[in-house]
């Protein structure tokens, strides 16, 4: 007798979906062991991420983390990715065989609607009720059985930010696939359905958001809110200089010691020159800024985790709309403080194509962390370490001013673009304000570790490589026997630097700066390592890494230093940023426009700064 036995199917390819800021990426990290960026605001994930998760001995499944979406009717590029993957329409991506719908348990009123909408996919769905710890703290009671019945899908509780917080989900993923829920009729009012589910399965205390409301009365106040924002930012830059100083001195001493040890251990020759004047001077000159970068990110990560940043976006919306941007531009612009590339990618959350393009074009004006070593070097060399009004660190004030100049110039450029275009319609900001959360020390520590790893990796790869190549170009061809000037003048780099000086002389740049600008195209902080190498080779100093600041302080005028600072506020010296602009806009023209206007702005700002400062000093 031929009997057909139903075969149990196990999930192999699973997609995490849900509204923005429900904890999908935190859950993805917990399941796969990855360390993708998480933060307490919507729009952090803008493209699909993939990982593997071991669900049973010898059996792993593939997990996709998709951008947050409020609906399958996508209105932005990131939502379109989620929609296309769910319907199996994304090229090169198989349709998942199981969906994990992640819901924020503290905000079911908003998130349940999407869970109901997913029923039309006809795929098996597991609902992960995330942030259950936060829901319990607020006194929110959820009847899981009733919720399962109402949704027609199995529901598991998760706490994605805690180890073991997804054990129930893992157990379910290790078993057979659930039956796909039946699609809802097209005429069903999803909002009414959500209200019905909430009334039967969820009890929410009346004053659940009392603390948030109390904080928001100050944080979102049109005047005090802006004062608070300015104070937070100001303190951040003060701390970058004040707190990092002892750590920087420690690294500087270590580099100095390594340089001196190598100098005494090796006989004079090209290898010693490569190691001491090239690698130690160049790489060490950048590595010394690691503490400042970490202190900056300590503040940024804490603000991200706390839920304050969307409030800042709300506060600045009026200002941004006035400048031709939208409140939605805030998160991409803020991401630009770390690196312009994730900032440009984060513009995918902006629905309006025109707003998105303007945001892409002004994001490089945000001061990325790669510019911090350049700023810190010049401020350390030219701005005295003293206090203003007995409270503020003057160096911190100048750093704040430079960051402010970047933001102000972005707003001015956006405003000009608004005037140049015909369509001047303004788009209202619809923003979800997350609950305030005390930053988790573990998340902050992971974030800082990631930033430190990224920085050290950059130092050990791109900066080291460029330093080695620049050392060669600055050392060869060697000077002739009857040479009068320094040997570097006869090298490839020396000749290139002198040739470029004609172009940059009106803005006060000497030939050493001109040399540093070229490798700085690959990564901005390479300009510091390049200057350290060039000055080490020029001066035959054995400790240029530690001495670079005093060397430039004695050889440059204040006008030149200010001109270089102005240059770095605008300069498009990062090929990767231009490549991403090209990729995200699919337009060479836009990329060339970005490069041209940023270069023109940088040159004009440096010219004015240099000419004014030369007359005053």
């Amino acid at each position: 007798m031929n009997m057909s036995i139903p075969v149990q199917r196990f999930p192999e390819h699973v997609a995490l979906v849900g509204n923005p800021n429900c904890g999908k990426t935190a859950l993805f990290n917990l399941l796969t062991g990855s360390r993708q960026k998480v933060a307490n605001y919507a729009g952090v994930t803008v493209e699909r991420k993939e990982g593997r998760c071991l669900v049973a001995p010898q059996r792993s499944i593939r997990i996709l983390d998709l951008p947050g979406a409020y609906s399958l009717a996508a209105t932005s590029l990131d939502e379109a990715i989620t929609r296309d993957v769910c319907f199996g329409k994304l090229q090169g991506e198989a349709r998942p065989d199981l969906i994990i719908c992640v819901l924020d348990a503290t905000n079911l009123r908003l998130h349940l609607r999407f869970a109901l909408e997913l029923r039309q996919l006809g795929l098996p769905i597991i609902v992960a009720l995330n942030m259950m710890d936060a829901a319990a703290r607020r006194g929110i009671l959820i009847d899981i059985e009733k919720l399962e019945q109402a949704l027609g899908m199995p529901v598991v509780q998760t706490v994605a930010v805690k180890r073991g917080g997804a054990s129930d989900l893992l157990q379910m993923l290790g078993g057979a696939m659930p039956i796909p829920p039946a699609a809802l009729g097209g005429d069903i009012d999803l909002h009414a359905e959500v209200r019905k589910i909430l009334s039967s399965a969820v009890i929410v205390p009346r004053r659940t958001g009392a603390i948030d409301d109390a904080i928001d009365r100050w944080a979102l106040h049109p005047i005090w809110g802006l004062v608070l924002l300015a104070t937070v930012m100001f303190l951040m830059f003060q701390a970058v200089f004040s707190w990092a100083a002892p750590f920087m001195d420690g690294i500087k001493s270590l580099i100095q010691w390594i340089g001196l040890s190598l100098s005494s251990a090796l006989p004079p020759g090209p290898l010693r020159s490569l190691l001491v004047e090239g690698i130690i001077a160049g790489v060490g000159g950048v590595l010394v800024f690691l503490p400042q970068i970490l202190f900056l990110f300590l503040f940024i990560l804490a603000l991200e985790e706390s839920g304050y940043l969307p409030r800042a976006a709300y506060l600045l919306d009026k200002l941004m709309v006035g400048a031709g941007l939208t409140g939605r531009s805030f998160i991409p612009l803020l991401s630009g403080f770390a690196c312009a590339i994730p900032g440009i990618m984060a513009t995918r959350t902006i629905q309006n194509e025109r707003d998105r393009l303007v945001t892409i074009l002004v994001t490089p004006l945000m001061t990325c962390s790669a510019r911090l070593p350049v700023y810190a070097l010049l401020i350390g060399a030219f701005i005295p370490r003293r206090t203003v009004f007995d409270i503020f660190n003057l160096q911190g004030v100048v750093l704040f001013a430079l960051y402010f100049a970047g933001v102000a110039s972005a707003l001015v450029v956006a405003w000009v673009m608004k005037y140049l275009r015909r369509d001047r319609t303004e788009h209202a900001l619809l923003l979800e304000l997350p609950s305030y959360r005390i930053p988790h020390p573990r998340d902050i520590a992971i974030g800082l570790w990631e930033r430190a790893s990224i920085f050290v990796r950059r130092v050990g790869t791109i900066i080291l490589s460029l330093t080695v190549l620049l050392w060669f170009l600055s050392s060869y061809p060697a000077a002739p026997a009857d040479a009068i000037g320094p040997a570097i003048d006869y090298s490839f780099a020396g000749r290139i630097g002198h040739a470029l000086q004609a172009v940059f002389a009106p803005i006060g740049f000497n030939w050493q700066i001109c040399i540093a600008l070229i490798p700085g195209l690959a990564a901005r902080e390479v300009a510091v390592s390049s200057m350290a190498t060039v000055y080490a080779l020029s001066a035959a100093s054995e400790n240029a890494a530690a001495e670079l600041a005093p060397i430039i302080a004695s050889q440059w005028s204040l006008a030149t230093a200010l001109s270089l600072l102005a240059w770095y506020v605008f300069a498009p010296q990062c090929l990767s940023t231009l490549a991403v602009i090209r990729r995200e806009t699919a337009s060479w023209r836009t990329m060339l426009l970005a490069a041209a206007y940023l270069f023109a702005l940088a040159y004009a700002a440096s010219f004015i700064t240099y000419q004014v400062a030369s007359r005053w000093s």
């Binding site: 062991g33 993939e50 590339i341 994730p342 990224i454 950059r458 790869t461 490589s465 460029l466």
Partner: protein, 80 residues
């Protein structure tokens, strides 16, 4: 030529070669892939083939970036 000179020039040339290849992979990943394919031709010595396969990996996503923290960690991959 003294042994020290041989050692020091070997180190310098290796550093220059590796740095050039690294930068080629970042700035022009396609060129690095083409070079790798060329080195993997069967008429070359085995060590050249091995070297070619070692440098065959293209850099990052092709944008020449891999620096922003949004790229994949070793445990996951990230495709557009």
């Amino acid at each position: 030529m003294k042994i020290y000179d041989i050692v020091q020039w070997s180190i310098i040339l290796s550093a220059l070669l590796l740095s050039s290849l690294y930068m080629l992979g970042r700035i022009a990943p396609q060129w690095r892939v083409q070079l790798a394919q060329h080195l993997q031709q069967p008429n070359y010595a085995r060590w050249i083939n091995n070297f070619g396969s070692r440098i065959a990996r293209a850099a990052g996503c092709g944008s020449g970036c891999n620096t922003c923290g949004t790229c994949a960690t070793p445990n996951s991959s990230n495709k557009k």
